[in-house]
């Protein structure tokens, strides 16, 4: 079959579109949840205006991280990768998969970080005196929720830059399963980060809420949050391992 450079371009541009399109859905929802909770909080407690506004902005910035990762990946897919014909179907599949990985991979973390930020805004509005402790806990929780987005980013980079060129003597069967393996790697980390991102976001949201209600139990709350988040993260790490195997260990 004659392989044209356009095939690689089609895959890369499709990947770029899916990446930033899917990635911006939940980033928008996450930031929206934060501002909605901030507004309802201010309705109850208009005096906490300054602290709530600050928490809202910082929380939204943190919840946008995965969206920015998706933007970077789609920019790189459009301008930063080689469309040389020697890449063959391997590169085409890998570019499409890089977009899928980061696009789907930003869903869970953004929703999780959005829930955390929303609970923090509500909590700060109720207890403006605990504003700094709550915001610190919110940022740690959002960072934990975003770790799985960083896994997706790593896999996207690997798919864009460490996938080998298609060997000239490869048979159709080999080309098919290698290409499918790269697409499966993107799907694995994309779907696999959905649960951890959401789960950790829920833990972090509850702990920011409780830190506002029971400020004396700060250390116990934070310890339990870390423990729970670490256990919840484990499945994201399994997905990452399976991804590496699919990219590098398939002969």
């Amino acid at each position: 079959m004659i392989f044209a450079t356009e095939y690689i371009k089609v895959a890369a541009y499709l990947g770029a579109g899916i990446c930033v399109g899917v990635g911006s859905i939940t980033t928008g929802i996450g930031s929206g949840v934060i501002s909605a909770k901030a507004v309802t909080g201010l309705m109850e407690q208009p005096k906490a205006n300054e602290q709530v506004f600050r928490t809202m902005l910082i929380g939204q910035a943190a919840a946008q991280t995965a969206g920015i990762f998706a933007l970077v990946i789609s920019m790189l897919l459009i301008y930063g990768v080689s469309f040389d014909t020697v890449g063959g179907w391997y590169k085409a599949a890998a570019y499409l998969s890089a977009g899928l990985a980061m696009g789907l991979g930003s869903i869970g973390p953004s929703l999780g970080a959005g829930y955390t930020g929303g609970q923090a805004c509500q909590s700060v509005a109720r207890m403006p005196k605990q504003g700094n402790a709550i915001m610190g806990n919110m940022l740690i929780g959002q960072a934990l929720a975003q770790t799985s987005a960083i896994f997706a980013l790593v896999v996207s980079f690997l798919l864009m830059y460490s996938v080998p060129n298609q060997p000239t003597e490869a048979s159709m069967g080999r080309i098919l399963f290698k290409a499918v393996a790269f697409i499966a790697a993107g799907l694995t980390i994309g779907i696999g980060t959905l649960g951890p991102g959401n789960g950790i976001g829920y833990v972090a949201g509850k702990s920011t809420e409780m830190m506002g209600k029971f400020p004396n139990e700060k250390s116990k709350i934070m310890r339990t949050m870390f423990l729970g988040a670490a256990v919840s993260e484990s499945t994201a790490i399994y997905s990452l391992v399976v991804c590496f195997l699919l990219i590098f260990a398939i002969k």
Binding site: S171, L176, V180, T188, G195, G199, M210, M225, I250
Partner: protein, 85 residues
């Protein structure tokens, strides 16, 4: 060793299902564990004196919830390495 088209399709299907298996298999356990941990945080802050019992129960519950994640990992590894054509 080179592959025929049919062998390639078999291998491709097993690899794709390995990816989907681990991806979807990671969804449920992580959500469940996150929910457990969130409720544990709530419980500990309401009654800090029973922190140790709550933490123990949380970890046991999470370990049970984790088991399906590990099943998915095992199946994904089998699909990647044990499927012979």
């Amino acid at each position: 060793m080179e592959f025929s088209m049919a062998q390639g399709i078999v291998k491709a299907a097993s690899l794709l299902s390995a990816g989907v298996c681990m991806g979807m298999g990671a969804l449920g356990p992580a959500l469940g564990e996150g929910f457990t941990a969130a409720k544990a945080v709530e419980g500990i802050s309401r009654s800090p004196e029973s922190a140790s019992i709550i933490t123990r129960t949380m970890l046991v519950g999470q370990a049970v919830s984790e088991s399906t994640g590990i099943y998915s990992l095992v199946i994904a590894l089998l699909l990647i390495f044990a499927v012979k054509i």
